[in-house]
Symmetry: C2
Amino acid sequence: MTMAQKGTVYLVGAGPGDPELLTLRALRLLETADVIFHDDLVPDEVLALAHRHALVTSVGKRCGRPRITQQGIHALLIDSAQEGQSVVRLKSGDPLVFGRAGEEIAALRAAGIPFEVVPGVTAALAAGASLGLPLTDRKSASKLIFCTGHHAMSKDATPIWSGPLPEDATLVVYMPGRDLSRIACELAAAGVAKDMPCCAVSRAATSRQSIAASRLDGFGKLECGPAPVLLLVGRAMGPLLTGEAAPQEVRELVAEAATELGA
Amino acid sequence: MTMAQKGTVYLVGAGPGDPELLTLRALRLLETADVIFHDDLVPDEVLALAHRHALVTSVGKRCGRPRITQQGIHALLIDSAQEGQSVVRLKSGDPLVFGRAGEEIAALRAAGIPFEVVPGVTAALAAGASLGLPLTDRKSASKLIFCTGHHAMSKDATPIWSGPLPEDATLVVYMPGRDLSRIACELAAAGVAKDMPCCAVSRAATSRQSIAASRLDGFGKLECGPAPVLLLVGRAMGPLLTGEAAPQEVRELVAEAATELGA
């Protein structure tokens, strides 16, 4: 397995949080890169896997208040690569799903910097796994839709979905914000049935994961736990409401795994 | 990192094919399970990572002609666990995305067998990574939709999407079948613009990956390469048509990685 190459930028998915859900390729690059620029959501247990001489820098933007601009991130990536460093740009989940990787890729292309994208386990898949529920199902969910509630926090108030939502879909909302009642209204307006099973997964795939579930008509009143939160909506979530499925115990292996891997 | 436990079934995502895109958890379970039941699409390079004393069995169903029924798979999983074996059910990509995991989970629950789902990198994310193109984009793709063309091969001829498809979505079609002209017609009927960028990725994330791209109005005539094929449709694929983005060279590391990991 090749190590991180000098002068190259690797856009790497860190997965949902649990270090065991890193890919082998991501681990190898983390262990060998000179410089690592990471988002806020990447946990310390993952960052601890970096080489001890690596420069590890957060370029996260918390709660919409940028500490560093997107253009600033581009400049850091390009400058570091042009100085001959091997650079990992570490994003939680998968870099191509709601990670603004497109803008970084365009900047790297324009600057002629070699780059590679390393996919990761996106949070929705980890949330489904820890619920022990499928995201697609031959009978009830032939489509899987990822969208973002990020708009809901901006001024333009674009709903998360316009027009009718297919009945046979599982909808996953990334970054839903705190206002579940607003999202519940938007889903009702998109024709989602009152009895549609909905759940909110807080801190998916970590030892502190928590889950709240209800029908759509009770969803606005749920407490959804600390960020990051994912919402999952669809018939495939039904077993959460009937008690048929209890979420699996989340393995409390995050610290243990980090210790072993870092050894 | 804990090894596979006796009497437990692990539904494990093998990722898109490249062994480097296995998660650390998947590798650990493969290395320690007594019994492995896998789909046809899991490549030999991944299966080679199993313990040399493990019983490795294909339960794949090729081209709709079942060699083993879904109920037969359930019986194998349950019997092996009840005999006290540690069991890995290995599925390509992520087990919860178009993998019939829901039926296997329900059978395991009904039989009282402990199980764990280990998420994996689903093929769409690996295809996007090897294209060097984002699947979501703040300007052009605020939604990501996975659907399946599997219906297109059955008698009922359900279209892959009913009603208008959002303009700002990236649509990924898993298992599209060979008839791209039919899918192109269905997309046009769903209101997709004639000039919408479309691409077909054959054998994503392997050393034999190939890509064909065109506007929707030329898509029906494209040769899409051998299965497994994924279709990606949306403005985010635009750089493939302008020549702005050439697909990254696919790393020819599959065999090399397998050798190293197996050593």
